[in-house]
């Protein structure tokens, strides 16, 4: 492992200075917390990650989770993490006091899990899914379900999962077939199978609480007939002990990355004795699940962003040490008799490092902003504010999930490239990051699904209100940044991008007016990429603006060089990444229709 996997100062800069955690802490709901305690918590998480997570990262890849004699074997540290992480409050932290939580802001929760993700992305899902499953029970379950399951999940004694995908129903959940048969008792009998269940089973946890989507017998077809059930691996018997609940593990999936994070194939009710308890009302399961899913999508973006950050630091460390080649002299030739230089001094290596930096830190900034919107959507002072931030979070979620995942693949590939041939060897960690990050553009809705969600649903909701709010926020940032003359060329560029983006919207909205719905969403992926590029530019402008202010005020806690590095990275992003909008805008405005109504023979 490289000696450093995260820039904690950058995380705190983005959290505290750029996105103003202090403002969120002023809300009544968070009044028990202050900046000092939040920073202390993050430092504690970094210590925890240094000690309990990072040392096992490579090992978990080299000794992957696997199915053996009917059981899934995972690294023993998974059990340690669940217990110690539970005791630290890493699972319970965000919940209300009355549910056993500590009401920490989502901004801080995101920052804390981001640190863990940077240290060891194979590990965090075990706690993360437990948190998500507990959240569903807390929000929609009755008092009995809460009392039976939530306390042990929050301490990490029991784990949670979400069970959606079936062999014939992945992105299309309306086709799922797992059955729930009503009984005269308070439970249903479940029957079916679920695949790709992350953290679904292993020997270090005494019980797994599966949140299962199933169709009650006689329910309507499609997504409207889907209900949500709590299905424990071991059910609680009349003596308050545990007994098997006819949930069996049929196997696992061996993967190219995240090999320490087990992925199971679960069988429910093979012996007709699998009991499930309905969560909330019948036929509303998918709606409930999407509460968890939206959080999970932000978590996926966070995981990808963290891998980019860790990979960037690994390649940066190498570039600062590896001596090779000579600088080009004044006459355009290399002096063969001069001393070789470290590769960080070569322009192309710097380009690759800067690309990683802008993707890593731009993604992190977006994640923290989205988390702030989540906090404000729940706890802002007025209903109008809550609605505004809810809409902003809605429009950002597909981008928070997809940009770090898609650009992360490219950024980590560049990180590996910095190491040349060594990057391809198992001696160095870059190849592991490269394999690990690939799944993130697939998890919890592929990029294709996110693009459709963004253009087909979010961009049109409430007559385009969310997009309008987003544009206003960006314009506000541009306006604030213009007080620094050094930034005005960049504010102009971003404003110009917004105008071009509006032109694209006009073209696309016209298609819906004409009833050309398939054409409208055919290039949704380019729409997502276009808007992502603009949003990350916004993030970098915010960081540069904050840096300029800090330099002007001679503000600690960072040195001027730190702030200058942010301004330089902003310039790189605007010069090297933002111009890529041109291609996407051109494709979207052309409306070629080349990907629809195709004669299949075109692929011959």
């Amino acid at each position: 492992m490289p000696s450093n996997y995260i820039a904690l100062n950058t995380l705190k800069f983005i959290l505290n200075q750029v996105h103003g955690l202090a403002d969120v802490l002023k809300l009544d709901y968070y009044s028990d917390h202050d900046m000092e305690s939040m920073n202390l918590f993050l430092d504690a998480v970094k210590d925890f990650s240094d000690r309990e997570m990072a040392p096992y990262f490579k090992e978990m890849d080299e000794q992957p989770a696997h199915f053996e004699e009917g059981k899934i074997k995972v690294h023993p540290q998974v059990g340690v993490i669940m217990k110690k992480g539970g005791a630290m409050g890493l699972i319970s932290g965000i919940f209300d006091y009355e549910d056993g939580g500590m009401q920490i802001p989502m901004m801080v929760h995101t920052a804390n899990t981001y640190i863990q993700d940077c240290a060891n992305n194979h590990m965090t899902g075990y706690m993360g899914l437990t948190l998500g499953a507990a959240e569903l029970i807390i929000h929609f379950g009755d008092a009995a379900l809460k009392a039976a399951y939530v306390p042990k999940m929050l301490t990490g004694d029991w784990a949670g999962t979400m069970c959606l995908t079936e062999p014939e129903a992945g992105s299309s959940l309306s086709d799922l077939t797992t059955k729930a048969i009503p009984t005269e008792q308070d439970y249903y009998l479940l029957k079916g199978q679920k695949i790709f269940i992350s953290g679904g089973d292993h020997e270090y946890i005494s019980n797994f609480v599966h949140l299962v989507l199933a169709r009650i017998e006689g329910a309507p077809a499609g997504t409207k007939g889907i209900s949500l059930f709590v299905v424990p691996k071991n059910r609680i018997n009349e003596h308050k002990g545990l007994e098997p609940n006819d949930v069996n593990t049929a196997g696992d999936f061996q993967k190219m990355g995240q090999r320490g994070y087990c992925t199971s194939h679960l069988m429910f009710g093979e012996n007709n004795d699998c009991r499930g308890w309905l969560v909330g009302e019948p036929h509303r399961g998918l709606k409930y699940m999407f509460l968890m899913m939206n959080g999970a999508r932000i978590a996926v973006g966070r995981g990808a962003a963290a891998i980019v950050m860790a990979a960037y630091h690994a390649s940066l460390e190498y570039a600062q040490e590896r001596v090779q080649g000579r600088k080009i002299g004044k006459l355009g030739k290399k002096k063969v008799d001069s001393l070789p230089t470290t590769i960080i001094n070569h322009a192309d290596v710097r380009r690759m490092l800067l690309l990683q930096k802008v993707v890593a830190e731009g993604s992190l900034s977006l994640l923290i902003l989205a988390s702030k919107y989540k906090d404000l959507s729940l706890h802002a002072k007025t209903p109008e504010e809550k609605e505004k931030y809810h809409l902003l979070l809605e429009i950002l979620t597909p981008i928070v999930k997809s940009y770090p995942s898609e650009m992360g693949n490219i950024a980590v590939s560049n990180g590996l490239q910095v190491l040349g041939g060594y990057g391809f060897t198992s001696e160095y960690i870059l190849q592991q990051y490269y394999r690990d990050i690939r799944i993130f553009s697939i998890y919890e809705g592929t990029t294709g699904i996110q693009s459709l969600d963004l253009l087909g649903r979010k961009a049109t909701m409430q007559g385009g209100r969310a997009i309008q709010l987003l544009i206003e926020e960006i314009k506000q940032s541009c306006s604030e940044a213009t007080k620094f003359s050094d930034l005005t060329p960049y504010t102009s560029m971003l404003e110009s991008e917004l105008e071009s983006f509006k032109e694209v919207l006009v073209v696309l909205y016209k298609l819906t007016e004409q009833g050309k719905f398939e054409l409208f969403t055919a290039d949704a992926n380019h729409f997502l990429e276009l808007l992502s590029l603009i949003i990350i530019a916004w993030m970098w402008l915010e960081m540069a603006n904050e840096s300029m202010q800090a330099i002007q005020k001679d503000e600690e806690p960072h040195k001027e060089a730190f702030y200058q590095s942010k301004i330089h990275a902003m310039k790189f992003y605007f010069n090297y990444e933002l111009p890529k909008t041109l291609g996407h805008a051109k494709i979207l405005k052309n409306v070629s229709g080349l990907t629809i109504d195709l004669d299949r023979e075109i692929f011959v």
């Binding site: 305690s37 202390l40 504690a44 600690e556």
Partner: protein, 246 residues
């Protein structure tokens, strides 16, 4: 058992140290601070462990300005019951020991624990000076501390073996690696720390014995020079005349 634990604030281990133009002070701009690991990981945690078994109270004491309260809060979050900050930018080990001793004399402690040294100045002097001020025994570099209800047993690593000491309190002990295992504060502890008492007291006037005349950094490493394998005479000349190692 009432235990007093001395804690210090030090730059984190990866901090790049820079000195002021006159070389008499160190620049704090952009430096992150932590609790001195020997104080935190070993002295404080062992004190809390003893309290958990035998009852009593753990008080942490720090000599420093308000900016030190972050590390004091951390000590409270880990499990100390209360804290005292003596409001003074300490000038030397003697100063620190004098200030802590003045406070300790006014209170009754069964034992006083402190890290074997701080990781910035590496002096290792405060424990001995403190014991001398208080007129009690001092045990340095302890790697094990047990209490059977009446007698303390201390182990310390010495050249080629381990020295075992039995004694009664009060005494001052400087903690080394092995005395305890690091505890990471949890969120509940961090929240509780805000409600624990932190008393700020003014320092005693103390006659200082130490003035800093100059800080200097080690000489920078000279760049590598490549010598062609055919040029052995040149290599010998360089080693002899430039590096002066032969």
């Amino acid at each position: 058992m009432n235990i007093l634990v001395g804690i210090s604030k030090t730059p984190e281990t990866t901090a790049k140290i820079e000195f002021s133009e006159d070389g008499k002070s160190f620049k704090s701009e952009g430096v992150n601070y932590i609790m001195n690991p020997y104080d935190e990981w070993y002295a404080l945690v062992r004190a809390i462990e003893l309290k958990e078994v035998h009852g009593g109270e753990v008080t942490v004491i720090n000599v420093g300005t308000i900016s030190n309260e972050t590390v004091i809060r951390k000590a409270l979050a880990i499990g100390a019951d209360k804290a005292v900050r003596i409001n003074k930018e300490t000038s030397s080990s003697w100063d620190t020991a004098s200030q802590i001793a003045a406070y300790a004399k006014e209170h009754s402690y069964d034992i006083i624990l402190i890290g074997k040294e701080t990781i910035d100045y590496n002096g290792g002097e405060v424990g001995g000076m403190l014991a001398e001020h208080l007129g009690v025994s001092f045990i340095s570099f302890a790697s094990k501390l047990e209490f059977d209800g009446s007698v303390f047993t201390v182990e310390k690593d010495i050249e080629g073996g381990v020295e075992v000491v039995e004694l009664n309190g009060p005494f001052v002990l400087s903690a080394a690696k092995g005395l305890a295992e690091q505890r990471i504060p949890n969120m509940r502890g961090i929240m509780m720390a805000k409600r624990k008492p932190l008393e700020v007291i003014e320092p005693i006037s103390d006659e200082g014995f130490v003035t800093i005349s100059q800080f200097t950094k080690p000489a920078e490493k000279v760049g590598i020079k490549m010598v062609d394998p055919d040029q052995m005479d040149e290599l010998v000349r360089m080693l002899s005349e430039e590096s002066k190692v032969i």
